[in-house]
């Protein structure tokens, strides 16, 4: 019986201190988790944009032309401000170009997804592809330009350059993050 119990006041003070410290710590944790979430989604957006733009650039460079439309399996893809249909020379098993034979590439927005599809010719060694580059697309715009300086906008089929403007939007707690990037590439095979 040497030890004494705590007084009510002591317990209240101790609990009060514990609650205050707890709330502070909790808010630090919530904030940091929120920050983590925001920053990593920003990061993801950035990486998506990077990947998407470099894919568009690479495809455009190899392309021998923007075509008006391409139909596959009953779906018609038409080159417009929100869709681009490119034809690229088909390659054989050795990586050589097969003359007068083309594969087709389509970039388009499907609800909030940026999709990339590749339709190879039967003789081509390229594999059919269907990829999603981002699931948070806010807007996607293609511009078709000629080779003049400064370039003028022309119809898709007479384009020698394609410009893409991609905006990604993501809800981040209370705020909405928007990230816009622009890139362009010339049709090297045109």
């Amino acid at each position: 019986m040497t030890e004494k119990g705590l007084t009510l006041v002591e317990i209240l003070i101790a609990m009060g201190v514990a609650v205050v410290v707890g709330i502070l710590l909790l808010s630090v944790m919530i904030n940091s988790a929120g920050l983590f979430y925001r920053e990593s989604s920003k990061l993801q957006e950035g990486l998506n944009i990077n990947d998407a733009l470099s894919k568009v650039r690479q495809s455009t460079k190899q392309s021998s032309g923007v075509i008006a439309s391409y139909t596959y399996g009953g779906t018609t893809y038409t080159s417009s401000a929100t869709q681009v249909v490119l034809k690229i020379p088909a390659l054989d098993n050795l990586g050589n170009i097969i003359s007068n034979t083309n594969d087709y590439i389509v970039f388009f927005q499907d609800q909030n997804k940026l999709r990339y599809k590749l339709f190879p010719d039967a003789q081509s060694s390229r594999k059919s592809q269907d990829q999603i580059f981002s699931t948070s697309v806010d807007s996607l715009t293609f511009k078709y330009l000629n080779s003049q300086n400064p370039p003028n906008e022309v119809t898709p089929v007479s384009a020698t350059k394609v410009r893409i403007i991609l905006s990604l939007k993501q809800k981040n707690g209370q705020t909405i993050e928007t990230n816009t990037a622009t890139s362009e590439a010339a049709l090297r095979n045109d």
């Binding site: 514990a18 710590l25 920053e39 990593s40 190899q62 990586g95």
Partner: protein, 605 residues
């Protein structure tokens, strides 16, 4: 007491742990982002380096005449590139360039670009039969698997069958309505498509006044070029206070750069439509160069004597500017303007069919003529059945230009001369000829095989017996080559012109012979058949026959793949089998030819 303080410490540890985790993950995330971004940037840099390597390779080919074998590693900017060169065929090289960041040994990023360079001249033969003002005259039962484009009348016998489309252009008057040229020391170069003494000469125009109110069918411009500028656009424009009116472009056409060589020649330009011009009104012919380039540009022949009184030349840096500045040029730029207004027709015999569309001013024929698709016309004969849609009041198709220009031919002749000259007639049978100029005739017996190392130029006539074969040497690979004849060519029955054996290679027989002054054609109401430039019996020709001023005559039962001629006369039951490879032939040019990139061969890995 000890227990309670221990709990707080625990909570603090957990909290600190969470914060630490968050911070570290964010740092790791930014690290990934940074790496990804710098990788993407490096990849772009590596691609740019590889493209720089391609430019270097092309420049080196042209500097050394093709004696360039690549380089192991060359440093440029933030990285390096290596070039390897492989020969595809006599005229084509495959260039593979890899760009490395920061160097080849320890590359973080690399990109490989592969492309083909050719010193060949690409020529497109898009129609199975293409004729000038002379038109086409077919016997009974001709079967044409291909399309036809004729700048003159088309006449078919009974039972003609055409699988492709038929275009009969609105007729062009035989002589230019307006023209100017220079002579002697008054001939000067006017350079454009390049910055010259501070002037950005991108647009050059020459005005003219037609003497008659008619449609304009084509213009012909006296041009040459340095290296390989891109196709410029030619526009016919109205006049606005002594300047081309940017708001009144009457017709647009493309000047095919491959028709122009580094020697002056008149090059035809046709347009997407044939504009109506009024007599004694000023119009402008305006060329817009696609870029200003110090190494690839154009020359327009300028007459310092200013002998043309109906117009003047001007230049501008931007014809589309809100208020374009047009500056006068001293002289007159060489041109010819041809007016139309001549009615051309297609007339098919009884029971003929066309599977494609027919475009002609007047479509007539015997009984039972069927057009399976659409007909575009002004006048349609009563016996013609159109299964597709009828388009009356259609404007005549514009005349089209021949795919080989005088300038191309001059190039070939120069190459032939560079190979040596033989004076006098050449007789014999199986032998190899060329590249060479033969100042005389080539006389061959029956059953001979001639291996041709093109170009071969014969100033006289070719007379060959039956079953004579001309075969392009196998070293030509996928490229094609020409035989040029200034006189007439007579081939016996069963003769042939063959390519190198590789797909895409063809032998072209080019005849300069002018048949127009040698009799009317029976087919169009004349009394006799004109003297043919090429008379090929009932042969089966797998090459290209090309006679821009002459008649090609094929006997009954002949078969062929591509004929471009001023006029074509086919016997009964002739067969055309057009080969899609004709649309993209490449002719190898001589040592003087410059290398350029082959369209459609750019690949990046």
């Amino acid at each position: 007491m000890t227990n309670q303080s221990g709990q707080v410490l625990l909570i603090v540890f957990v909290a600190v742990g969470v914060v630490l985790f968050t911070v570290l993950s964010m740092i790791a995330g930014s690290q990934i982002y940074y790496q990804s971004a710098s990788y993407a940037q490096n990849a772009e840099k590596a691609t740019a380096l590889a493209e720089a390597g391609i430019d270097k390779a092309i420049a080196s080919f042209n500097k050394t005449g093709g004696n360039y074998n690549g380089e192991a590693e060359t440093f440029l900017g933030d990285g390096s590139y290596s070039v390897t060169v492989a020969n595809k065929d006599a005229a084509t090289k495959i260039i593979t360039v890899t760009g490395y960041i920061p160097n080849k040994q320890s590359a973080k990023t690399k990109r490989t670009v592969t492309i083909q360079a050719s010193k060949g001249v690409g020529i497109a033969f898009n129609y199975g039969l293409q004729t000038g003002e002379g038109g086409i005259c077919m016997g009974n039962g001709a079967v044409l698997n291909g399309s036809i484009y004729s700048n003159g009348n088309v006449s078919g016998g009974n039972g003609t069958s055409i699988t492709g489309d038929v275009y009969v252009a609105g007729g062009t008057q035989a002589t230019a309505d307006q023209q100017t040229d220079c002579s002697g020391v008054n001939c000067q170069d006017y350079i454009f498509g390049k910055q010259v003494s501070g002037e950005n000469r991108q647009d050059v125009a020459q005005s003219f006044k037609p003497s008659q109110t008619k449609v304009l069918n084509k213009v012909s411009l006296k041009l040459k070029k340095t290296n390989n500028p891109a196709n410029p656009t030619v526009r016919i424009m109205s006049d606005n206070n002594g300047k081309p009116d940017k708001n009144s472009v009457l017709a647009t056409g493309t000047l095919l750069a491959n028709l122009v060589s580094n020697q002056y020649g008149f090059v035809d330009v046709t347009f997407n439509s044939t504009p109506n011009l009024s007599a004694n009104t000023t119009y402008w012919i305006m060329i817009h160069a696609s870029s200003l380039d110090n190494s690839n540009y154009w020359y327009w022949s300028n007459d310092l004597a200013q002998s043309y009184t109906q117009g003047q030349p001007k230049w501008s840096s931007n014809w589309q500017a809100s208020n374009p500045t047009w500056t006068s040029i001293t002289g007159d730029l060489g041109f010819k303007a041809y007016m139309g207004g001549v009615i051309n027709s297609i007339n098919l015999g009884n029971g003929s069919t066309v599977n494609g569309n027919v475009h002609a001013n007047t479509i007539t024929g015997g009984s039972g003529v069927i057009i399976k698709k659409d007909a575009y016309y002004q006048v349609l004969g009563p016996s013609i059945t159109v299964q597709g849609t009828k388009y009356p009041n259609s404007t005549d198709p514009p005349p089209t230009v021949f795919p080989v220009s005088d300038a191309n031919v001059t190039d070939w002749k120069n190459q032939a001369v560079a190979g040596g000259i033989t004076n006098g007639d050449v007789n014999g049978c199986t032998m190899t000829l060329g590249p060479r100029k033969i100042a005389g005739n080539l006389q061959l017996g029956n059953g001979c095989t001639i291996t041709v190392k093109a170009p071969l130029w014969i100033t006289g006539d070719i007379q060959a017996g039956n079953t004579t074969k001309f075969i392009l040497d196998s070293s030509f690979g996928a490229t094609s080559g020409p035989i040029i004849v200034d006189g007439t060519t007579t081939l016996g029955n069963g003769s042939d012109l063959k390519g190198s054996g590789t797909i895409g290679s063809y032998l072209l027989l080019f005849s300069n012979y002018d048949s127009s002054g040698h009799g009317d054609n029976w087919c169009f109401g004349g009394s006799q058949s004109g003297q043919a430039a090429v008379d090929a019996g009932n042969s089966s020709i797998s090459g290209i026959l090309y006679t821009p001023k002459g008649i090609v005559n094929l006997a009954n039962g002949a078969s062929f793949k591509e004929i471009t001629a001023w006029q074509i006369t086919l016997g009964n039951n002739a067969i055309l089998n057009y080969d899609s490879g004709f649309a993209s032939t490449v002719f190898s040019s001589g040592p003087s030819g410059s290398y350029s990139l082959v369209k459609g061969t750019y690949q990046v890995k």
